[in-house]
């Protein structure tokens, strides 16, 4: 009898904690790891993969989808809906982006994202402008490793 109530208590606490954590992660901020070097040197400046940067993603910006050129954002991939990328916004709706051959206008409700490391980045130069609705948050700080604690400006 005692072990049953113990399990029930633990389950209740875990469930409550999970729900609270999910709400905070959806509405306030969350911490995500940065994989790959498409944002070198902003993130993952060393090539050892066990020292991946962890960044703080702010979710308040999702209330009105107010972004600006220069923001580093997390967004769902337009081609693989389960994957998420971290890139920088370099073009807001209405702006013109010059790619290899021509000049492209960013449509209404979309943005042009590019990685800081142009040599090794899968971004809008491949899949075109992405709808702002795909964005899942703005990166504000690096929180791990401790020696790289910093604010991402712009």
């Amino acid at each position: 009898m005692g072990i049953q109530t113990l399990i029930w208590q633990v389950t209740k606490k875990a469930f409550t904690g999970g729900i609270i954590g999910l709400t905070i992660s959806d509405r306030f901020c969350s911490v995500v790891p940065v994989r790959g070097d498409s944002m070198f040197p902003t993130f993952n400046p060393q090539r050892d993969s066990y020292l991946d940067d962890y960044v703080l993603v702010d979710k308040f910006c999702l209330k009105d989808y107010k972004f600006a050129r220069g923001d580093v954002v997390v967004f769902s991939s337009p081609t693989h809906y389960r994957e998420r990328y971290i890139k920088r916004i370099v073009g807001m709706p209405g702006e013109w982006i010059s790619s290899t051959e021509d000049v492209i206008r960013v449509p209404e409700g979309h943005c042009w994202v590019e990685g800081d490391n142009k040599a090794s980045s899968l971004d809008s130069r491949t899949f075109g402008p992405i709808p702002l609705g795909l964005i899942g948050g703005r990166v504000t700080r690096v929180v791990w490793p401790p020696q790289r604690l910093s604010k991402i400006g712009g």
């Binding site: 729900i19 609270i20 999910l22 709400t23 959806d26 991939s77 337009p78 081609t79 809906y81 209404e108």
Partner: protein
């Protein structure tokens, strides 16, 4: 010595208040999780889904589980975040999944001028049931699957139209 007693009373009340606040906070979190991840009600209005949905507005129940498991199919009515305005949600029907070839009339009022497209990987083609009054994939192209946020389950208001949507 009296102020010590007041302090103790205050501590008791403060603890009780904190407990009540935490109950309310937990409840709000539960509402958020249910609304975002399980089921929610939405007020939809506009002519683009006539005759399936009314012009003057219906309240429908939408579930948010199917799209997370990839179980969105042809003919489903889905809630999609608008690709032209991310603060708005639109309700449309899925008429094409990735890889499908579709042909549609560029301007239904004129009649001819048929256009054929293939839906790219990771995208879906959404259209309103009312072809004459709907801004959908015929205008802004196929939308990424991730923009889908829910699938309509049934209509709950107005009461005489209560029931599942077809």
């Amino acid at each position: 010595m009296r102020w010590l007693r007041y302090l103790n009373q205050w501590r008791g009340t403060a603890k009780e208040a904190l407990e009540q606040v935490s109950i309310v906070a937990k409840f709000l979190c539960l509402i958020h999780v249910t609304d975002r991840y399980i089921i929610s009600s939405t007020h939809v209005q506009g002519p683009s889904m006539l005759p399936t949905l009314n012009l003057t507005g219906d309240v429908i129940l939408a579930e948010h589980l199917s799209h997370r498991f990839g179980k969105i199919g042809l003919g489903d009515i889905v809630l999609v975040r608008s690709p032209t305005d991310p603060t708005r949600m639109v309700t449309k029907r899925i008429l094409g999944l990735e890889g499908h070839r579709l042909s549609f009339s560029a301007d239904p009022l004129v009649g001819d001028g048929s256009v054929s497209v293939v839906v790219p990987k990771g995208h879906v083609w959404i259209q309103g049931d009312n072809l004459y009054a709907s801004t959908d994939s015929r205008n802004f192209g196929p939308v990424p699957y991730s923009l889908i946020e829910g699938k309509a389950l049934l209509r709950v208001w107005p009461p005489r139209f209560f029931g599942s949507l077809r």
